[in-house]
Subunit: 325 residues, 2 copies
């Protein structure tokens, strides 16, 4: 949530970031842990976590609002302080965590990251889509020459489906992303990688990301799970590359069918979509991201939500926000 | 801590037990979880734990004191309420949890379960040894005919050392306890089990426990770790059976050398101790437990500690106690 913090500071809010001590921020940084506990084997993750969270709540009176991005555990401290707490629910890791959100549903405030990710058992004060820093994703006007898979190598993400589509249309597929499921990669992906018709780039860093996205003809996002929010689609669209995707999870909220890509039903449908993808205006893709998925829009939405919460309470224009990550 | 709760109720305190819903108590029971989460695979242990703990602290104003037996996590909520919190530290699972106790050292209250288990980095309001319900452990006046190992089958607990001693004195060894280290059992214990000179009973339930303890000549407790508190020694002594033990952990606080057993240096020393164990008066063992290790003594010590804490605060005689387990 560095993008959000930076933009909130730019908008004039007094923001304190509770994060690890190695975090970069133009807000005020408060850290219990000098660095991520995953980097320090002497630290017990459970200890680091509860000391991090309790510190925020012990200092709650310093803040007008606590914005929690740290899942459910902070909620269990929230009823012990007067400061309102807003939690952005970044996906449910499991249905077993919903009871915590239910317990605090009436007195706390939740933001969904997409309509698709909402639990029917909870109330939400807003749905706020993620935004990206558009300056990191330049626009590529010219149509690309390859199809692109961009994401984790995992059955959920549809790498094999992308390979099938590319083979059927006789077009090159570029695959970029970390291998999360080694067995899937070895059996379903690697046998097709020849460097010519299917190329695997591995993980692509921030420097290369826009080039890989922007030079594609289309992004294939043929997922088979309810993805809470598909950031790679937004990044692709920002570079001008339209998206061909199944109607799962947040996709109908991100892709405008016929305007910024195609929402398809099956592999055959995806093959047909590739044939007509050139009728999608790449600049329309760019413009849609500028309007709907910039980090500035995200920050404005959050400021509106903060104000809504503060008006529910004392009703004045306080502005000290704590972002807990 | 059922024994403590029951005795506190008997002493007239208003006790609320926060535990799983299947708990038996004559106090008031408050449960978030109907039964232990280990019995319900649909429950996320982390979720159950934080909902259990937060419920207590959200209701803190109902209590004059919260007595925590749930390790470090409740401490991180304690600074957010006015009710004083007393934590019995039932051993440190790892040095990595000490930072939490350090953070709350100045404003919270800690009880050690033995002098041996104290961390030099913490302050303690008291050391309170565990107590047992002596009525469950009848006195056996007659000397037993076998040596006894009673505890987990694990290298730390000295099962193999007990076998060595029994073999050298030519006396039968009875082994009772669950197998915690299967490899150790298979290589260091099982080859010696013949049912005659070395007998393994498996885990011994409450019905058999006193019989197995009381009919022994001596309990061999030749541990090789800093045991926070050795309850099996207390149970053995209650039945009249003296203890031969190495001077590790809480042993010097439990065994009175020459009066209720022998504290020895090595195997040879333990062998010599068996030869003279009959000079230990079995009734002295019983009496020492009656005086120092009954659950009534434990409860009185806790009531004294509760009063000490409450007098540090408002200084009146309130008596509503919450026991969190």
């Amino acid at each position: 949530m560095s993008l959000l913090t930076e933009e909130l500071v730019r908008l004039g809010l007094d923001v304190t970031l509770f994060a690890t001590g190695d975090s970069q921020t133009s807000g005020r940084l408060l850290a219990v842990c000098p660095r991520p506990y995953s980097e320090d084997p002497s630290v017990d993750p459970k200890v680091a976590e509860c000391l991090h969270i309790s510190e925020i709540f012990e200092r709650a009176a310093e803040f007008d609002l606590i914005h929690n991005h740290y899942d459910f555990l902070p909620l269990t401290y929230s009823a012990l302080v007067d400061t309102p707490v807003l939690t952005t629910i970044h996906g449910f890791s499991s249905p077993s965590i919903i009871p915590v959100y239910q317990k605090y549903n009436a007195r706390s405030h939740y933001v969904a990251i997409s309509e698709a990710d909402k639990s029917p058992e909870l109330d939400y004060i807003a749905t706020i889509h993620h935004g990206i820093d558009i300056s990191q994703f330049p626009f590529f006007e010219a149509e690309g020459q390859y199809l692109l898979f961009f994401g984790r190598i995992h059955p959920d993400k549809g790498v094999h489906e992308a390979i099938q589509v590319a083979q059927r249309v006789g077009m090159k597929l570029v695959i970029a992303g970390i291998i999360q499921d080694q067995d899937y990669f070895a059996t379903q992906v690697e046998p097709h990688v020849d460097g010519t018709t299917v190329e695997y780039l591995g993980s692509v860093g921030p420097d290369q990301r826009a080039d890989v996205l922007g030079h594609a003809l289309a992004l294939l996002h043929l997922i088979s799970f309810e993805e809470p929010f598909g950031l790679s689609m937004v990044e692709s669209l920002a570079c001008g590359t339209p998206v061909i995707a199944f109607a799962r999870g947040s996709i109908p909220e991100i892709v405008r069918h016929g305007e910024t890509g195609y929402i398809v039903e099956d592999i055959q449908d995806a093959v047909s979509a590739v044939a007509t993808i050139q009728s999608i205006d790449r600049s329309a893709c760019r413009e849609d991201v500028e309007q709907r998925f910039s980090h500035k829009r995200m920050a404005r939405d959050y400021v509106d939500t903060y104000e809504k919460i503060l008006n529910l309470g004392a009703g004045n224009d306080r502005q000290a926000i704590s972002e807990a990550v």
